[in-house]
């Protein structure tokens, strides 16, 4: 197969021509805006005061790095990503293992349990906001019926519970994503490996840790990386649940940037977005290296 492909591969510019349309779109929507954003980040650029636009060097950056709110937001981003993606992965993996078992009605269970994946982020945020509502929310009612709480809790309006609430919501949204990706990976694991493990008398647990997980390494790498980046960048869930409140308790960097951009403070927002991008690159580089390193 490999040999045949390389023979077909001597086709001059064709491979590049085929990539061109996708590249044109990507350059105009990603590359050029990033260059623009870098330029903006060195400017005072506030659309509410357009005539005061001016080059101000690193002022935006020094202002950001000196502000307490930035570091707090960065810390909250870390918590948001760590618990959000961590729990999504653990539960998504459990669900994938369950969906990979043999039982009647599996097809339906598979399709149904993946629905959160196809639900719009705004709707997810609003649905959970209603469930967690302090006055009429069903979550309070359920907890009261179970005898866990006696008084209603305003989950999203209380400083200590707001972050766990939005994390629960993003976990709910992300479980199906991990489940579907890992399920795909599970189906690709060769049966020979399990048979060999059976012959060696391996237990279920041993098979999970010595066959399944190592075989899925590549999938796990790629999906967690995609998800870390996606969750770190996500705005819609937090924005539509708490707008970053109460008292900044759920304000991640993305939400902070979105807020600044909404108030048209573009230069400042761009500088902060560039910093966020650099943080994400730090996360992504080792991942990319290991993913692509295996290939070559």
């Amino acid at each position: 197969m490999q040999k045949r492909r390389s023979r077909l591969g001597e086709n001059g510019i064709w491979p590049y021509v085929l990539l061109l349309p996708a590249l044109i779109v990507m350059v105009s929507v990603v590359v050029i805006p990033i260059i623009n954003a870098v330029g903006m980040s060195f400017q005072y650029y506030n659309l509410t005061r357009p005539n005061r636009t001016a080059f101000i060097g690193l002022d935006n950056y020094t202002k950001i790095l000196g502000s307490k709110l930035f570091w707090q937001s960065l810390w909250r981003t870390l918590i948001w990503v760590f618990f959000g993606v961590g729990l999504q992965f653990v539960f998504g993996f459990m669900l994938a293992l369950l969906l990979n078992r043999d039982y009647r009605g599996r097809g339906v269970v598979r399709a149904v349990s993946l629905i959160p994946w196809v639900t719009p982020g705004v709707l997810i945020a609003l649905m959970w906001r209603w469930i967690l509502d302090g006055n009429y929310g069903v979550f309070n009612d359920l907890l009261k019926k179970l005898g866990i709480i006696s008084e209603n809790v305003a989950w999203l309006a209380t400083k200590g519970t707001a972050m766990p609430s939005v994390i629960t919501t993003i976990v709910w949204q992300g479980i199906p994503f991990f489940a579907i990706m890992l399920l795909a990976g599970l189906q690709g694991v060769s049966h020979d490996l399990y048979e060999a493990a059976d012959i060696d008398g391996a237990t279920r647990r041993q098979k999970l840790f010595y066959v399944t997980i190592p075989s899925l390494r590549n999938t796990i790498y790629v999906t967690t990386m995609l998800r870390i980046i996606w969750v770190a960048n996500s705005v819609d869930v937090i924005w539509n649940m708490t707008e970053g409140g109460p008292a900044y308790a759920t304000q991640t960097l993305s939400v902070y940037i979105y807020k600044e951009a909404s108030s048209l403070n573009m230069g400042f927002a761009s500088a902060m977005a560039i910093l966020l991008m650099l943080v994400l690159l730090l996360v992504a580089i080792p991942y990319l290296r290991s993913t692509f390193g295996q290939e070559g």
Partner: protein, 281 residues
Amino acid sequence: MKNTTFHESRAFRFFTLWLPLILFLLFLLFPFYWTLVTSLKTDAELHSLTVVYWPQQPTMAAYRYLFQQYNFLHPMRNSLLVAVITMALSLTVSTLAAYSFSRFRFPGRKPLMMLFLTNNMFPTVLLLIPLFTNMRKLGLLYTPWSLVLSYTTFTIPFSVWLMNGYLNDLPVSLEEAAMVDGANRAQAFLRIVLPILLPCLLATGVYIFMQSWNEYTFAVLFTNEKSRTIPVALKNLIGQLGVQWELITAGGIITIIPVCIMFFFAQKRLVSGLTAGAVKG
């Protein structure tokens, strides 16, 4: 597996399969149940101090109100337009790119693949600001095209990955046979590869459609009253007088029904495409 009878017992199966499965389904599906129930409630039930788990007099008033007062068909039409055009565009460019990655080995292949994969890595908020300005300069702002272009870009990486997986699964010998018979590469692709790939194209198309149908952050900035898509319309139901939950939940139900139906049909193929992509990278 063969050493104990306990592992084959019903109790074991209940605790390792059915119980966790039921808990998962309860957690994942309860919000949808709650959304549906809320949308059918009367105002009195909605704001009664005892929470009502099933409406005594289910009412479709919220749905009627949505279509009559809020003209919900209008954002639905906008969303449909954006999603369909995005699907066509993204599917075309992604399939071409995936074909290139799958069938050719050429200098720069690896860095280009890297570029395609990392395309989604940049903070949405970083692109949002300059894109807004650029779209305005180009006169695309508040037209469906601003969203089509953005969504095409954001669906390219995953679509290329999927299509690459499907293509890698397809033996090269099929095209070679056609080319031996005198067809050129384009003909071989159009007549041999494309028909076989059709179900896979549909599955990838469903993914693209879902993404465009659901996106909010760009849509809220790039649309106005006339070109507004469903997620924005949904959020806009939150008025100054507070949140009318029966309207929002009714709108939510209307929003997810089409994508759910599409997803049910495409789900199997999506997983198999991901499998192929995952195995061969």
